[in-house]
């Protein structure tokens, strides 16, 4: 579904991404982990059309999206849940959700919007309770759910999430990730960027490790979890001998 080859993205003089290649196949959950500044957010923003690449190719469903306007990328079926939620704070929850469905309205699928709204409330009951509240008054976790639900209203084929767990309590993160699983089960493909490497890899099928704008490791989520360097750098050290055989 998504195929990136040798992507190069610059911020001024600095290269945020140097020849990054990765792919996401239909129905997968792929996690991108790495330290701050590694380039993960830049990657997602480039795919979403917010950033113009300096080189390389981004193929989404066979179309080259490098340089396409964001609205076109969303219309093609790729939605980004951005870092920091970015809800429309001065507008109520319901309007946030309806705005997420903009592309659906343009496609003339009003009936689907109704159904999707119901589905959003099913996934995140709290949002229904707060439908009339201004989005800016929601808690961090609720805002994250709103941001996710909003992106899903467009019925995207690929959902990209940028650090959804940031600043959220572990219990909330658990709910959020459960929602991601549900979303995948319902047919979407997910590309997840996370600082919380352990949670991200447990959720994902495959993963990539990004360091200073380059991919240093690729493999199944399990292989990444078992990779010592990953354990040392991102999973809080190596497991003790006693826990060696255990699944982390």
């Amino acid at each position: 579904m998504l195929r990136i080859r040798n992507l190069e993205v610059a911020y001024g003089r600095r290269l945020a991404l140097r020849r990054v290649s990765l792919h996401v196949d239909q129905g997968e959950i792929v996690s991108l982990i790495g330290a701050n500044g590694a380039g993960k957010t830049t990657l997602l923003r480039t795919v979403a059309g917010l950033v113009r690449p300096a080189g390389g190719q981004v193929l989404f469903r066979g179309r080259d999206t490098a340089g396409l306007a964001t609205e076109r990328v969303v219309a093609l079926g790729c939605s980004l849940v951005p870092e920091g939620r970015q809800v429309f704070a001065t507008m109520p929850v319901l309007e946030n959700l309806l705005l997420g469905a903009t592309v659906q309205y343009r496609r003339g699928r009003r009936a689907e919007v109704e159904a999707d709204l119901a589905r959003a409330y099913r996934l995140f009951p709290r949002l229904e309770q707060r439908a009339g509240q201004l989005a800016g008054t929601l808690s961090g976790g609720e805002q994250q759910m709103l941001a996710m639900a909003r992106a899903l209203m467009a019925r995207p084929a690929l959902v990209m999430l940028d650090e959804p767990s940031m600043g959220l309590a572990p219990l909330v993160v658990k709910d959020l990730f459960a929602a991601i699983r549900t979303v995948r089960a319902e047919g979407a493909t997910v590309l997840l960027v996370e600082q919380n490497a352990r949670a991200a890899l447990r959720l994902a099928d495959r993963g990539y490790v990004l360091e200073t704008g380059r991919v240093v490791l690729e493999g199944s989520a399990r292989a990444l979890l078992d990779n010592r360097d990953v354990q040392r750098a991102y999973l809080g050290g190596e497991p003790s001998a006693a826990r060696e055989g255990e699944r982390p």
Binding site: R3, R5, N6, R18, R19, V20, S21, L22, H23, D25, Y208, E211, R214, V215, V216, L217, E218, G219, A223, D226, N227, R228, D229
Partner: protein, 441 residues
């Protein structure tokens, strides 16, 4: 054979083995780039090599670009003995294996947990392609030890779910006994050993019906179609070839499917190139060339463009079995003077090194290879001084035994030694005279 063909269609990892080539190339590109980045960062050897060649790892963005990366050779591996090319700390390495030679000419390879997993699945793929299922009883008659053959096949077979008999090599009588009693269905060993066992069977008068054997997974040395036919007839099995080398993985690098028209390579773990052995340039399409392998998933012991020294062909044409992985042809020969004696790699230079160190022996020798009862036999003719040659039998045999012992230690395989008169060996020019191979097919 239709039974085997039907089974050939079964894949251990169909999502990989039947991947469409575009997706495979994308996967290879990603893994190649990640490997380059990692290797440049963690291995001073490669960082210096790439810097010296003026190659920026970030600039390698395709298989074509990879050609600018210098080759890695056996000498490089030897020079890094033991752990110079390990990309991870030793405590992350959970297995060590070695290839040919004891000191000075040996190579050590290491595996992390993930490496073992990948290795296992590569071998499992080869076994399944050869027809093995979990119902099978697999007798592994490769040597268990530092060499990768025994453990490699063992791991793969166990993964498939077959019942594995870790026989290791040798003890032919016992091998046959076990083969009958344990109802072995698949035999994994070198083709020459298989032939030897077949002959022993005949000699022992064991009726073919007493065996449950149906598959042969043979590798570790080059062997001909003629030998395959013989083996298949004598043992009433379907015999497939598989290829491996410990520097890069072990067994599991490639294996034949039921079509028996080429060995499918584990292209998700290795990037295969074919180069002209003299110039190093890419071989012309369809031509014979030297197989060069780059590891894509190795953590502990990654290698860039390793010259295997094996001459073969490469094709990406679709195979009737449905696998899309490229196929290499049977190995046609070597680019160097490496010999394989009883499945063990022997470099004539090893022999030379032993002789030079020994008092009394001249470093002029000739290795004569013959085959008796389907087993390789090696005799090393060593020139000695007249004094020794005409000396007492006792002293001569003492020297002969010493040489034989030293050679066995160094090479890892037993060779007979004969002392000959000085200058009696054909000088010729260079290597050609060193080896007389009378083994035929």
């Amino acid at each position: 054979m239709s039974d085997a063909s039907a089974q050939a269609a079964v894949c251990w990892q169909p999502e990989i083995e039947r991947m469409d080539r575009e997706a495979l190339e994308q996967l290879q590109l990603e893994r190649l780039e990640a490997t380059l980045t990692r290797v440049y960062r963690t291995l001073p050897f490669y960082r210096q090599r790439l810097d010296a060649a003026g190659v920026d790892p970030d600039a390698v963005r395709s298989v074509e670009d990879l050609r600018r990366v210098p080759f890695t050779t056996k000498e490089d591996l030897r020079a890094s003995y033991p752990y110079g090319l390990f990309a991870v700390p030793l405590r992350d390495v959970v297995r060590l294996h070695a290839s040919s030679g004891t000191t000075g000419l040996a190579t050590v390879v290491g595996y992390t947990r993930n490496d073992l997993r990948h290795w296992g699945s590569a071998v499992a793929r080869v076994l399944v392609a050869g027809g093995v299922t979990r119902e099978d009883v697999v007798q592994v008659a490769f040597h268990y030890g530092l060499f990768t053959g025994g453990f490699g096949l063992h791991q793969g077979a166990e993964l498939v779910g077959a019942s594995v008999i870790p026989m290791s090599s040798g003890h032919s009588r016992q091998q046959l006994r076990i083969m009958q009693d344990y109802r072995t269905t698949a035999l994994a060993c070198t083709p020459s050993y298989a032939m030897h066992l077949a002959d022993e069977l005949l000699e022992a008068g064991v009726p073919r019906g007493a065996l449950s054997l149906r598959l042969g997974l043979f590798g570790g040395e080059p062997w001909s179609e003629g030998l395959r036919r013989q083996l298949e007839e004598k043992l009433q099995i379907s015999a497939t070839d598989n290829y491996g080398l410990s520097e890069v993985l072990g067994p599991g690098v490639a294996g034949e499917c039921g079509e028996k028209r080429g060995l499918h390579l584990a292209e998700d773990h290795l990037l295969a190139e074919l180069v002209d052995p003299v110039s190093g340039a890419p071989a012309r399409p369809g031509a014979v060339g030297e197989l060069v392998l780059t590891t894509l998933t190795k953590e502990a012991f990654p290698l860039l463009r390793y010259r295997t020294g094996d001459l073969t062909t490469l094709t990406t044409e679709r195979c009737a079995c449905g696998r899309t992985l490229a196929r290499m042809g049977r190995v046609l020969g070597r680019t160097d003077d490496l010999l394989i004696v009883k499945g063990v790699k022997v470099y004539p230079s090893q022999i030379e090194a032993v002789l030079v160190a020994l008092e009394g022996a001249d470093p002029h020798y000739q290795i004569v290879l013959t085959r008796r009862a389907s087993m390789d036999e090696a005799t090393v003719l060593v020139e000695v001084s007249e004094a020794i040659f005409f000396d007492e039998m006792r002293r001569q045999s003492g020297l002969r035994e010493t040489i034989a012992r030293r050679l066995a230690e160094e090479l890892g395989v037993h060779v007979a030694v004969r002392l000959v008169e000085r200058k009696s060996l054909d000088r010729g020019d260079g290597k050609a005279a060193r080896v007389v191979d009378r083994r035929g097919a």
